[in-house]
């Protein structure tokens, strides 16, 4: 941790970056994202087991995006997010400096995107066992069983869009869900509107989700919304051998194709 703090301080002192995105002490024993812009504020940076949030989301937020050059405390999911949004032409290597953190909490020197790609090759991207268990359980259910499960799970959703706000890949300045001429997704609290919103989100993240699980953590009602995109992560790996966030120059899954994509259902 001292390494990260020291490095952040150096970067701010030398004006190599204008802002550092990192974790700091919040209230009630929780951590929060902090954005030191002066060298002395780098002291407030922390890193421990509570620092789970995917900070990459801030890189493309309007308020931070225009602050100049950024350094970011980056765990594996953050690095994957960076590569994914870079592959979508939302971020370039010159805009961001990465202060890598290994899963053990050690500082990792990452020079550029190529180094990040190489480092990520050594990392595990697996879906957490707890979530995998639910996915497997759902797999064993009938179609109706799954429909009932999701209606029940999604019914408390009041579309606060915290899942969207917390996702580094949901950076569109105008989201489909706000299209109201015609009203694309019903805004009233009804089951169908909830189903449509969550399916839309999952589809728009197909081949792009890097399974950080931030949407599920951000949900104030603890809806396991991350499972929808996690399933997509497994599916696209199986069908297309696509793993999001592994390269800054990969094609987007749904805006590319292969003439020999294999399906079994078109008559």
């Amino acid at each position: 941790m001292d390494d990260i703090r020291k490095k952040a301080k150096e970067l701010l002192e030398s004006h190599a970056v204008d802002v550092v995105i990192g974790y700091g002490e919040g209230t009630a024993g929780k951590v929060r994202a902090i954005f030191p812009r002066k060298a002395e504020d780098a002291e407030k940076l922390i890193f421990d087991g509570r620092c789970e949030q995917n900070l990459a989301v801030y890189l493309l937020k309007h308020e931070i995006k225009h602050m100049g050059k950024k350094a970011i405390v980056a765990t594996t999911p953050v690095m994957r997010s960076i590569l994914q949004v870079a592959s979508e032409y939302q971020l370039t290597q010159d805009e961001v400096l990465v202060l890598g953190v290994s899963p053990e909490g050690k500082y990792v020197e990452i020079a550029d995107f190529a180094a990040m790609e190489a480092y990520l090759k050594t990392q595990d991207f697996g879906i957490p066992a707890k979530d995998k268990a639910i996915l497997d359980k759902l797999e064993g259910m009938t179609l109706e069983g799954r429909w009932d499960f999701w209606l029940e799970q999604l019914s408390p959703c009041f579309k606060c869009y915290a899942c969207r706000a917390s996702c580094p890949m949901c950076y569109c300045t105008r989201c489909f869900v706000e299209v109201n001429a015609p009203q694309w997704i019903p805004i009233a609290a009804n089951e169908l509107g909830n189903v449509e919103w969550h399916l839309l989100r999952a589809m728009h993240l197909a081949g792009r989700c890097i399974n950080c699980g931030e949407c599920g953590r951000a949900c104030p009602l603890e809806i396991p919304t991350h499972l929808l995109t996690f399933k997509g992560v497994e599916d696209v790996k199986e069908d297309f051998n696509v793993v999001a966030g592994t390269s800054a120059s990969m094609d987007s899954l749904l805006s590319s194709y292969k003439a020999d994509d294999k399906e079994t259902f078109i008559r």
Partner: protein, 150 residues
């Protein structure tokens, strides 16, 4: 159930399947009148949400049809669509939406007879499945579950 007539919505591309359906008509081939055809410029234009909208508005089945691979008027629209459907179908399966009610097909402008067959088969299959009440119910129902903010 005996007098259940399925409502089927067909999303078809302008260049192949719509012309194919025209050929079915000019060839005087009769097929089930349960289908409502909606013409799109290309299968690539058919947003996945439109399928859900069809079910939400009372459809019991959906047909999606366009040009065969390599025949797309816009070169690659159907290839993009095919990828999207591959992803979408698995997502529907995962969320428990009855994808057996959705029929995907390639029907060219010369396949008038195939179009009649696709429609007839789909209508029969959906007739067996019955009305899609699960989805229609959800479309009308306000939220049932009370939220505890404790």
């Amino acid at each position: 159930m005996a007098d259940f007539e399925p409502k089927v919505v067909a999303f078809v591309c302008n260049w192949c399947t719509y012309a194919g359906a025209d050929l079915t008509g000019t060839s005087r081939i009769k097929y089930a009148p349960n289908v409502r055809i909606i013409r799109f410029p290309c299968t690539g234009r058919i947003d996945f949400m439109l399928i859900l909208k069809a079910f939400g508005n009372g459809a019991d089945g959906v047909i999606i049809s366009g040009c065969h691979p390599n025949d797309c008027h816009y070169t690659s629209g159907n290839f993009h669509a095919r990828r999207r459907w591959m992803v979408f179908k698995r997502l529907l399966d995962f969320t428990g939406i009855d994808h057996n009610r959705i029929v995907w097909s390639w029907v060219s402008a010369a396949e008038g007879a195939k179009w009649a067959q696709i429609v007839n088969n789909t209508v029969e299959e959906v007739r067996q499945l019955g009305p899609y009440e699960n989805y229609h119910k959800a479309a009308l129902k306000p939220l049932a579950k009370e939220v505890n903010h404790g």
